[in-house]
Symmetry: C2
Subunit: 207 residues, 2 copies
């Protein structure tokens, strides 16, 4: 299977390809992409090969075909339903983010313990009480959940999600949640990016 660094580069390639498409280009070479990202062309060719597409010598890649190949490799060519737990400030921003729709992710429903949010719509997403979670997950055949609850609530929310049949959790809380083996967790911790930025700025100041 594809190495993690290569997989992480694929969305960046998609952004570049889409911006070339807007400029009216139809073909692109590995070198064109490499220049935008400060990488070597061989790295681009290797990464693209994982998605099953190979460039034609002298011509390069057909941009439409490349976009289709990357999207289908990741799974963004079809619609994927998700639910979100914790309709607070970050949860609200994520529900309003149009970037998810272009990647096939639709947040179908949100859940929260705050009764004043029950029965409301946030960017067209209905908010339900936690007791409705299992029923909605099974009725809408949802496998993916986004967690944007406070760190103290993250593990108990995770347990509820796993019991309801959720198979993948995108965890925005800094908690280290424990899940059974067949459930996948992806953490998003803004502190990691912040730490990298701080240390790189210090290194730049002293160089």
């Amino acid at each position: 299977s594809i190495p993690l660094p290569s997989l992480r580069r694929l969305p960046r390639y998609l952004n570049i390809l889409e911006s070339f498409q807007i400029k009216g280009k139809h073909t692109v070479s590995a070198t064109d992409i490499a220049e935008e990202l400060d990488l070597k062309p061989i790295q681009i060719r290797k990464d693209m090969a994982f998605t099953g597409i190979v460039g034609k010598p002298k011509v390069g890649y057909d941009i439409n075909e490349l976009i289709k190949s990357i999207r289908s490799f990741i799974g963004w060519h079809e619609n994927t339903s998700a639910i979100l737990v914790g309709a607070g400030s970050l949860g609200t921003a994520l529900m309003g983010y149009e970037g998810f729709l272009t990647r096939g992710l639709r947040i179908e429903a949100a859940f929260d313990t705050d009764t004043s949010k029950h029965g409301t719509l946030i960017y067209d997403t209905p908010v339900y009480p936690m007791r409705e979670l299992s029923k909605v997950v099974q009725r809408k055949n949802v496998h993916l959940a986004v967690i944007t609850v406070p760190v103290s609530a993250a593990q108990s929310v995770t347990d509820t999600l796993v019991e309801s049949g959720i198979k993948g959790i995108w965890n925005f809380s800094p908690a280290e949640i424990q899940v059974p083996e067949q459930v996948v967790v992806k953490r998003e911790d803004l502190s990691e990016g912040l730490a990298v930025l701080f240390v790189q700025m210090q290194e730049m100041k002293h160089s």
Copy 2:
């Protein structure tokens, strides 16, 4: 200098250490931390050594000392001012996030082209028009900026920031912004996490 994967682990160690502190523990071993994160104790010891602290054989580390050492290594022991450009839905969530204060990051001012936001406060942060940016950056001696504007505006906003003297940019837009050599950029692209989650869920389904 510290390798990137080690640097990225430091905020996770801080979260674990803070949760041990809340439970009333005073010392911790590399093994205690390793168990929480599914890592090997040798990896923990190596990472901690980069921050300048070494554990005592048989006793381990003093938790308070370890927290202090990691925070000061990253630069979170002192206050760092930042500005934010693009006071929209993600920018608003970031301005309201208390997690930044505990890492010494204070968003002092926000800037936006939307005149209806000028003169307002978002979570106590004043919103100014773009023409005030340079003056505020110099008056408050700010070196760091967060960008949460649409992708089409990201490069022109970056150019304004670089001209005003900003040295580090935390870029939440998917644009590949170009900066001069002495400016540091850290991208946060949620699509990377989403791609990893999707592919890992597919791999789990077929295993």
